[in-house]
């Protein structure tokens, strides 16, 4: 398995680039495509990081994950975008340049945190541990810093990717049932959020969540 570290390094660097691309782009279509690339890339992690040979189970889960995060979710999101007719994140709460700066800070923080955690998780590849923390941070940031509901869903799915990586490298054996349950939950979550966005865009005329600010106190 000498190719393993090299392959993981490739996934790691391309994966991080997709995060920065997400932070820097205003076009929703592009965001969804970056998310799709990211989903496919990180779905490969369990296949590569599995050191005791490939089982059918691992391949099956990776395949299901690629299908969902690489194809189905992006298709649902793109469909929603067309249906609701919005194409750009016009004025995010945090500007695009500042967002990329946040990405740099998150990168440094995630490296520090991963170094802190790595001794306790010595069998996990360091780069992937760092990537997982970074993905969660970026996903959270996208949710709080963007006005468009679709990009908030993208943020949620970036967090999901981070959790998927974390699960794949830290927990060696989880029952198939649990993993399938988790995938199913993500699947339903995207549909529920999609329907919600559809209702919101119909009621409000657009899916900018800063219009959703009547309830407070």
């Amino acid at each position: 398995m000498s190719a393993m570290p090299a392959l993981l390094a490739v996934i790691h660097s391309v994966g991080l680039l997709t995060c920065f691309a997400l932070l820097g782009t205003s076009r929703i279509g592009a965001c969804i495509r970056f998310l799709s690339i990211q989903g496919i890339l990180f779905s490969l992690v369990p296949v590569i990081a599995h050191d005791d040979g490939l089982t059918l189970r691992v391949l099956l889960l990776a395949g299901a994950n690629i299908g969902l995060k690489g194809v189905i979710f992006p298709a649902v999101l793109l469909h929603l975008r067309t249906r609701a007719g919005f194409h750009r994140e016009v004025e995010p709460f945090v500007g695009f340049v500042a967002s990329i700066l946040f990405g740099v800070v998150a990168l440094i923080v995630s490296l520090t945190l991963a170094r802190e955690l790595h001794p306790a998780l010595s069998h996990a590849p360091f780069v992937m541990l760092q990537a997982a923390i970074f993905l969660v941070a970026i996903g959270l940031f996208l949710i709080v810093s963007r006005r468009n509901a679709l990009i908030q869903i993208v943020g949620y799915l970036v967090i999901e990717n981070g959790i998927f990586v974390l699960g794949a490298i830290t927990v060696v054996e989880t029952p198939l049932l649990v993993e399938l349950g988790i995938l199913l939950d993500a699947f339903v979550a995207v549909f529920v959020m999609g329907i919600a966005v559809f209702h919101i865009s119909r009621e409000f005329g657009m899916a900018d969540v800063d219009r959703l600010n009547t309830l407070r106190g």
Partner: protein, 487 residues
């Protein structure tokens, strides 16, 4: 029935009921919700009796596990759903904007019983991963219950709920992963089974367990409405139809707290006493204080009740952090709060329906307008703020004793301060709402279902305040022992 079958039946009945609602007519849907909840309550009670007599039960190859702690929660769940389903029939029978179209009735029934099934799954699963799946399912199923009558406000509340809770639950999953990874010596595929994790011989990595508990607490804490991560709660509670708010407040929040409590024995085992308890006490006290602040300035009756939920969930969390005696009080408080809050939402919901508003300046003279719901409002809010002889007074008193016993003087002072603030401000609102002059609404009466729901809730609150049967004390003690050590 053997306990194992009762566990399977609990899930089966709820799922079948949910599916049947998809094809039923509007009126049978609401009757079916009542019937299914009643069956669930019966099954839960039989399971509780069996667990108390013969010890914890398992089913399906240890995938499901019910001990005194989860059996108690199952009974509260059944009771809350039964009361809320009874009320839903009254609430939705009202014509106009609160009525149900055919598709809305089906949607309500399926989601209502579906979320019941998801909560049962949370309470009976032995696998922490499956428990998480159930919790996430409750978020997804209940989201559209909030916007059952879609309008701008309810959609806004629903979107906040969906997004904030999904992210919270994602954090809880990170905690679950860390907890499984913290097991040393490798349990293999059993690393998520609670019974294996809680076994005395299991060893944990302390660093990972610390991370795990922080993520679990923040993650499930979001769903439980602990401050400062409660921001979705007042919106969702105020915009959802009243039966849904009652169910949210009466049990959904407790389900999330239940998940946190499953981790507490593991954390105590890995890190010694203290860490988990201090965090619970901190978040509990903070919730009580934050809620008290918002209650003072509240104008909307449903939001007032929502902040009361933050306060009472804080009280329960605080109790769990105060040792065995506190855990006992917290469990007792769970039951009391669930009944009382359901009753309060029934009253406010029904009155709001007739007044067309939940503004407390508009809701006025409830007792004169409708003796039944006026009485319910009066009793439930008096009980909520801790007036004797209702049972919430008793559980809060036990909690105070636990705090004294633990020597937590600062917490005790803060708790008493916040309680008196809540007491004074809620009482001021209550007097107007109950005895003021009725404005712009006509007197009305509701039928036997309403009387039954009010009578059962008030009766239980009063009875448990005056008299705790000895078997009940034993049952609560067993439940407390399952997660918090023995008395």
């Amino acid at each position: 029935m053997a306990p194992g079958y009762a566990i399977d039946a609990l899930l089966f009945v709820a799922v079948v009921g949910a599916l049947a609602c998809l094809v039923a007519q509007p009126r049978p849907v609401l009757a079916m919700a009542i019937a299914v909840s009643a069956v669930e309550l019966g099954l839960a009670a039989s399971l509780w009796v069996a667990v108390l007599a013969k010890g914890p039960a398992t089913a399906e190859d240890e995938l499901f596990f019910v001990d005194a702690f989860s059996a108690f929660h199952l009974v509260v769940l059944g009771l809350v759903f039964l009361l809320c389903s009874l009320f839903a029939r009254i609430y939705f029978a009202d014509d106009g904007e609160h009525g149900l179209t055919k598709s809305a009735a089906r949607r309500f029934g399926a989601l209502w019983l579906g979320s019941l099934a998801a909560m049962v799954l949370v309470l009976v699963s032995n696998n922490l991963g499956v428990m998480w799946v159930g919790m996430e399912a409750t978020t997804l199923l209940t989201a559209f219950l909030i916007s059952l009558h879609p309008n701008r406000l309810s959609l806004e509340a629903m979107w906040k709920y969906l997004l904030i809770c999904s992210v919270g639950i994602a954090f809880a999953f990170i905690g679950t992963i860390f907890a499984a990874a913290s097991v040393q010596g490798g349990l293999g595929a059993d690393a998520l089974l609670w019974t294996r994790l809680a076994a005395p011989e299991t060893q944990f990595d302390p660093t990972l367990m610390t991370f795990a508990f922080v993520f679990v607490l923040v993650g499930y804490g979001t769903k439980a409405g602990l401050a400062p991560i409660h921001s979705w709660l007042p919106d969702a509670h105020s915009q959802a139809p009243a039966p849904v708010s009652a169910m949210f407040s009466g049990f959904l929040l407790n389900t999330a707290l239940y998940c946190i409590l499953r981790y507490v024995p593991l954390v105590r085992h890995a890190l010694g006493n203290g860490f988990a308890d201090h965090l619970l006490v901190f978040f509990g006290t903070l919730s009580i204080l934050v809620a008290a602040g918002f209650i003072v300035f509240q104008r909307d009756a449903k939001r007032l009740l929502a902040y009361h939920s933050v306060e009472h969930l804080g009280i329960i969390a605080l109790g769990y952090g105060l040792g065995p005696l506190g855990t006992f009080a917290a469990l007792f408080h769970t039951l009391n709060h669930s009944i009382c809050k359901a009753l309060a939402f029934f009253a406010v919901g029904r009155l709001g329906q007739r007044f067309g508003s939940h503004d407390m300046h508009v809701l006025s003279g409830a007792v004169r307008l409708t003796p039944l719901w006026g009485f319910a409002l009066l009793v439930s809010i008096l009980a909520l703020i801790g007036v004797a002889p209702f049972s919430i007074f008793m559980s809060e008193y036990q909690l105070l004793r636990a705090a004294v016993g633990a020597g937590a003087w600062l917490v005790l002072t803060l708790f008493l301060f916040a309680s008196s603030v809540v007491f004074i401000s809620a009482l001021r609102h209550l007097i107007d709402m109950s005895f003021g002059d009725p404005k712009g609404a006509l007197p009305f009466r509701d039928g036997t279902g309403a009387i039954a729901a009010v009578a059962v809730s008030t009766g239980l609150l009063l009875l448990l305040g005056l008299w705790m049967p000895s078997w009940f004390v034993v049952a609560l003690g067993r439940a407390a022992a399952a997660v918090g050590g023995r008395l």
